[in-house]
Symmetry: C2
Subunit: 271 residues, 2 copies
């Protein structure tokens, strides 16, 4: 584990940073292999868009250069970038001038059981629901107490992930993954304009599926629709694709389209 | 400005703290005068309750002792306590064991215009709405992007505060204050069980008003009710009470009951 703060080796930051005070910032969890960051342009464009929405100045050149240099040093593992609004005076008002702070931390790849990818995973059905807040939806911001509460609901390692709904009972996502359903050869994934994080692997897989002529639908999906679904999988930027074989009373086989997308994700992560 | 981290003079903390990573923690903004923290027991009980809800171990003895010692050193000003879940591994799962981290920062009292308390304030009508999340409502947690966005909506110093509604159009609070309406000699304040921060000054003023035989109602209040309201005021733990004289097309005089509660708040803050 090593870290850079604003491009310099350091592992602590001022207690007055707004990232700590208000969760006022964003993060990206980037898979690094052979010294290269995977899905870099997707991470960069999510950051750029989110900074625009949160009114955080974004210097794409510095951020990209730092991720590349950091990844080269890391070799293999996970580079986590936290981008905060930087120092603040007391109070919520945006600081003027604003100097965002970059925190890059490298760590080994998580030690997920190989069986998750091979045989699929069971999801815990979380009681914690996601609030609807269109102003924050889609972004990987630092306000993540809902995920902390959801993840605290289970300890049983038989559940690799948890399923989260919104307060209207719609399927939204896993605690740290996106959810995709396959129905009659088409991909269906929850609309994330009211809550949820729009993962970079989700975006990339949807784009690649469409390029292969597979129809993709981003829409509201009520929980009950799990019933008529042929395959279910989760995806994120670290593990790629995990087939889902069970959620509460529902179960599915690991299907052929899931395997196809898993293989694409695997290539993306292997650079 | 000076600070303690876990009881030791320090102004930086590890970049791996979960307060930064996820906004995984709480804060209290405590007015200090003549070396003593105001409303300490209210701050302590909100912290204790919120820690219980967030599953953060809470050592009341250490926290209280530290606030008292820090306040004695500060003399006059604002002591801000941030209590985080402490270090975390990568991932949302609660760390085991968990060692919460305490960050205490002292700063001068904010330089609010005296006219705010004397003549009242105009509120900016924020477009940013509060999401409904009963699991987080009422707590002063570190997930405060909604407040950051709301406060970014206005720069005009003619507005001392902003009014926030929920997505159903109910009155909830100011960006950094609570809202109380006076109707026919009774206090009415928004229910904060779906969103909003239950301020310590609000709790104390409601308790003192009831002790004086004034009826207090905590309930859902639609925005339209501003119309039939006799007096409006804001309160928080630093400035006490500010009469509200204008919100958009509505205006009010500074009324007698507001003045009475302002005087009570003033005494509370003067220790």
């Amino acid at each position: 584990m090593f870290s850079w703060i604003d491009g310099v080796a350091a592992d602590s930051l001022p207690a007055s940073d707004r990232g700590l005070a208000y969760g006022d910032g964003l993060f990206e969890t980037i898979s690094v292999s052979h010294g290269k960051p995977s899905l870099l342009e997707r991470h960069m464009s999510r950051l750029a868009l989110s900074c625009e929405r949160l009114l955080i100045p974004f210097d794409a050149f510095i951020v990209r250069s730092e991720i590349l240099a950091f990844s080269a040093l890391l070799g293999d593992g996970v580079a986590k970038l936290i981008l905060t609004r930087g120092q603040g005076m007391r109070g919520y008002a945006l600081p003027e001038p604003c100097a965002p702070r970059r925190v890059l931390t490298g760590s080994p790849r998580p030690n997920y059981p190989a069986a998750n990818a091979q045989h699929g995973v069971s999801l815990f059905a979380c009681q914690t629901r996601l609030a609807e807040q269109p102003l924050l939806a889609g972004m990987k911001h630092l306000n993540r107490l809902e995920q902390v509460l959801a993840r605290s609901e289970w300890q049983d390692p038989a559940y690799a992930e948890g399923l989260m709904l919104d307060y209207s009972g719609r399927l939204i996502e896993g605690v740290y993954s996106n959810l995709i359903l396959i129905q009659k050869g088409q991909l269906h994934t929850p609309d994330l304009s009211r809550c949820g994080v729009a993962g970079v692997m989700r975006s990339e897989l949807l784009a690649q599926a469409e390029a292969l002529g597979i129809d993709c639908f981003v829409r509201d999906i009520p929980r009950l629709e799990l019933l008529g679904t042929d395959e279910v999988f989760l995806c994120n930027s670290l593990y790629g694709v995990w087939p889902v074989t069970r959620i509460a009373e529902h179960s599915w086989p690991v299907g052929p389209l899931t395997r196809k997308l898993q293989s694409i994700a695997c290539d993306l992560l292997d650079n």
